[in-house]
Symmetry: C2
Amino acid sequence: MPSFDVLQAACPSRSVLRHLTDRWTPMVVAVLSDGPARFGQIRGRVEGVTAKVLTETLRSMERDGLVTRTAQATMPPRVDYELTPLGRTLVTPLAAVRSWAEQHAEQVLEARARYDDTVD
Amino acid sequence: MPSFDVLQAACPSRSVLRHLTDRWTPMVVAVLSDGPARFGQIRGRVEGVTAKVLTETLRSMERDGLVTRTAQATMPPRVDYELTPLGRTLVTPLAAVRSWAEQHAEQVLEARARYDDTVD
DNA sequence: CTCCTTAGTTACGTTGAGGTACTTGGTTTC
DNA sequence: GAAACCAAGTACCTCAACGTAACTAAGGAG
């Protein structure tokens, strides 16, 4: 086994890590961890994401094998997204980071306020 | 307690999450999880980061209360960085994501190869 | 007297992620 | 018969992140 290491510049795991930390990826994973969802449902739950960027994010996740995309050629179109088994193994790690952000947001905000006070 | 939710556009936890997922933050946390380190040591272990961006990353982490910065006014200067108690609570969640990237890099690369084959 | 050290700062240039606005398509509601 | 519906595709634009190169500090080595 090649032993990947994100600390090494040329290691492919670094590009993987970078995708995981894309702006909307953790939120999309959070939404899909509740089960499959349609494009519009995801868009509804992830506040502030535009259709274009959500499409790009989902395509990128599909390419990386994290989600499956099932399109029905009906009109209007209906497209379902679902986490793959690989994508499901991501739920716990990303949820941990998300939950850290939510649980420690208060402390971080306080630290910022303190820091900004000590700066001219 | 105000109950933070990253899925809500205006929630402060979202800016916190965004900082955690800055390009170099997870790697810096990984390095500092081994103990305090000097600027040059961090720079040496995080391959590819430039001095300017590492400075910015560390300053931002200091502002958020994740690291302490201890400068000696000697010449040449010596500056030590260390995770705060708050920063140390970040080690486990971020290590989980880092380790996911390393352990599943192979599968992601395979998925990309397969996907790219099915595209003209 | 010039070089090298460390941990920056500053000015500037580049890049790419993300955002806005417009277009597509066939069926239902006004 | 026009307009909304849903999930996009595309062209264009913006801005913040990131990068490069040059400069700074005080003292010791060559």
